[in-house]
Amino acid sequence: MSDGRNIGEVILNLEGISLAFGGVNALQDISFDVREHEVRAIIGPNGAGKSSMLNVINGVYHPQKGVITFHGQTRRNMDTHAAAAQGIGRTFQNIALFKGMSVLDNLMTGRNLKMKCNFLQQALYWGPARREELEHRRKIEEVIDFLEIEHIRKTPVGRLPYGLQKRVELGRALAAEPSMLLLDEPMAGMNVEEKQDMCRFILDVNDEFGTTIVLIEHDMGVVMDISDRVVVLDYGRKIADGTPDEVKSNQAVIDAYLGVAH
């Protein structure tokens, strides 16, 4: 899959991450890294701690142990705002769109970090604030064009079918022009056609913008197709890490996951 793309240096390194909720261990001593421009998949059975992993990466959860190095900066915790400011985008397993807003406003919200005017300028809506709104609207339109959601631009997101909501959520993350994108089951609950579309979008994002992708996905076919390297988690532990082929032939993985009829 990587022809034409240059997979670069390690940009995110996780070292010995452990996370517990009230005595329940969600993640235990997990280490792995993500290289620039690659598509990195995290797989594992339900409850393996995959979502928790993403939540640690962008600072929703704070691990009790371990260190995170992102773009050369080492820290114990990320904080969500800092993670976003450093270019980490994110979609959620259960769609987390802003239900009260239109598609356009959802995407514009995704660009909030890039908007610099203060609320007084915005209250006047004169000069800089207006210019800024129009400028960013243009950028957002490019995302809309990219994801082919022109026809629903002004629809409230709550009225959209599931598959489109997922696409809008991806758009919201893209609006911030992230350098790394965390996708939590982007294709869950989709039909074949929607999955194909979503796959194409993810690969296009990776390809056209050079965005590094970390994704959680249950559809093994998809994972094996599009990812460069795969981490396998089981009950909060890492049991394998490598290329799709290596992972596929790993006995621990077969026992824990692949062997189980799905």
Binding site: G22, S51, N55, F92
Partner: protein, 312 residues
Amino acid sequence: MNWQFFLEVLVGGLLAGVMYSLVALGFVLIYKASGVFNFAQGAMVFFAALTFVSLVERGFGFWVAFLITFGAMVVFGVATERVVLRPLVNQPPITLFMATIGLTFVLEGLSQLLWGSQPHGLELGIEDMPLEWLSQNAGINVSQFDLFAALVAGILVSGLALFFQKTRIGRALRAVADDHQAALAVGIPLQQIWAIVWTVAGFVALVSGLLWGARNGVQFSLTFTALKALPVLILGGFESVAGAIVGGLIIGASEKLAEIYIPEFLNAPLTEAMGVSVNLAGLEIWFPYALALAFLLIRPEGLFGEKHIDRV
């Protein structure tokens, strides 16, 4: 400092706290079973007390009036479930909360429309007099009435605890609090459970109404008992019966102590420091809130509340 007076204030506060707990209990019951923060609890207290006292004044006997009022509370509970809760099922909790504010207004208007808005006295046969035995032996004045009210509240709480532990409906109610699906599995329709729990809360309101009414007179200000109970809830957590009781005691005691001692100790130095006359009297109106808030900032889920983790 006069220790006997301090003890008097403390015990008085604790006993008043029991009365707060009683009102808070009404909130907790409904919150536990239906996730609704029932702002109308105070109005229910007022409605129950006013109905009862008006019936008694029209010549009904105590128990007859009690039963009729209870009947009215049942009707109210069932009607609320039908008209308000059922159409709003699956709405965000804050919507339901606002609906109960609406309910408060309806109930207040209705009570006064039916029975008029004059204050009434209510006599339960227990005098608000110091217990002689205690004043004579320990020199502490503790109101008989407060003791009686505390006793009633204690019996009610124990009764409810038994009800929750031992009866099928009680167990179902607890199940509902945890998980609506689970409750369905018990085989009791959710709507029925809500109606029951509102009825029980109505009963609690009736008892609180009688006790508060007998103490302060049956008048519109009874609705404010709900406002007194809110800090109790914050402190104790919305979901915990034990929290309501402990919270009530803490709020009751600290409120009374603050009411007496803060102005006493702070008025003079503050007046001196600021150069203008400072009088902190009447701070009991907000002091419990401040206390509860301060506590909340340390423990957002309350004394006995459960910690929630946002799953994303």
